[in-house]
Symmetry: D2
Subunit: 155 residues, 4 copies
């Protein structure tokens, strides 16, 4: 998602390429089996199937799984609105876990939408639901802009 990796693309164009299989998914998401499936202006959806590897030893997915899925979604929905050379990065992330995520739940979708985009700061909200729309987790984020200057991104 860096200017380098986005290759001069806007956030939305880059995400569309990723959905089309023409851009590599980030390593952490590949590791966890979380994939981008929808992207439009101000909104994205990631999907994943709960597996043993996500478990925390209590027979449910680790809270970090939901946090990872939400962090990706919350950030990308804001970056769908960003032109080439401009992106937002996470300052803070807040996650609520409302039901245990288990293998029985199977496929889950994490949808996130922009709440506020200002000149320096943006916020967004997202949910993790199963195929019937049942809620398992929700969260919000606060992000700050990073702009490309002199050929590289500067915080």
């Amino acid at each position: 998602m860096s200017a380098h990796i986005r290759g001069g693309l806007s956030g939305l164009d880059y995400f569309k390429k990723m959905i089309a299989g023409q851009a590599e998914p980030p390593p952490m998401l590949a590791l966890l089996g979380i994939r981008l499936v929808e992207a439009e202006e101000g909104r994205v959806v990631f999907a994943a199937t709960i597996e043993d590897k996500h478990y925390n030893g209590l027979g449910v997915a680790h809270g970090g799984f939901a946090a990872t899925m939400l962090d990706s979604s919350l950030g990308c929905c804001i970056n769908t609105l960003m032109p080439p050379g401009r992106r937002f990065t996470t300052l803070e992330l807040k996650v609520n876990l409302t039901r245990p995520l288990t293998k029985d739940v199977g496929l889950v979708r994490c949808e996130a939408k922009v709440i506020h985009v200002g000149g320096r700061v943006a916020t967004s909200e997202g949910t993790i639901v199963d195929s019937k729309g049942k809620l398992y987790a929700h969260g919000t984020t606060t992000m700050i802009v990073v702009e490309e200057r002199r050929g590289r991104l500067e915080p």
Copy 2:
């Protein structure tokens, strides 16, 4: 960490077994290379080395990596105080990212300490620092008790 998996042990005894290599680490932590290294009453430390697999495509570790490390630490420090058959599980997690975590940072430690333990709810706080004590992330959690009744844990 369930009563079943803890095998009738208190939280602290179970964590000591895990540090000694006599109990399996949770799958999600094994996947991410995050390991428990210290546990005492009300305090734990997890450690990990930042690798390519943690990256988010921006040349830094995914926010979900810090969130996973913090969620484990914040929960386990509370569970060090729990007797057999009683444990706390995450209601919500709040993470601040203060500096980018990169492979150059290398080994990081996530230390968490209990803030409050009540009859039903507990809170804790934690930090992620490098070998020089430089801060990369911090967070807090709110957890709720789950007690064993009739042979199984009931939420």
Copy 3:
């Protein structure tokens, strides 16, 4: 909102009485000029006009003003769903301030809606907007149930 003060009413019936002027508003809300104006199942709206007394010395309303308005709204929208003798109380509150609230903004509305209601824990989300729908703050809460037993509310 206690069983005593609600006088055996459900949350929603009690809030309707307050809107009708037949129940006293809480002292803190009276002090800040924040009033309940709408209540239905799972949703409430509070309103207030920004005044000098809300200021923090920087020529804008104190962050505590938005936090107070959101805490009331986030809690009451959950309690609209509660029968007599049962209510939820705040475990934690998360507030984002997206624009400065000044006297020029004038009248603001804080609308909150339930996200999740479980047996022990509930969550909700809310926003503070002006008369044109412009967003000034938003937040979420995690609440825990308190039930009446033996004639009084027990945590």
Copy 4:
């Protein structure tokens, strides 16, 4: 606390003047009876006595009271480190309520300390305790810098 109101003073010098009674407290804090009592580099303490006016109708202080006390403390401890013409303002505030605040509790102190101060963003943590050190609430904040340019503060 604006450059104007701080009158060209650093944050710490301004807070010391306020403690000495030589600068007016912000209206919102005067309204709620919350007063600054200690300030040093990276740390402040506010104090208040719980009164009827803080109540929420449930026989306890409104969550907004703790939020207001924490927001002031969390912000001011960061601003103790700021030179004239530079200050930080709240992006987001997270508050945990761990015990009910009632008139029986009497005098409470809210102490806050800096966690991280960067070029654009800062974070801090604080607690509300009674005269015996018992914990009633705790919280964290994320703040962003506002700098004075051309004679006025610009966000």
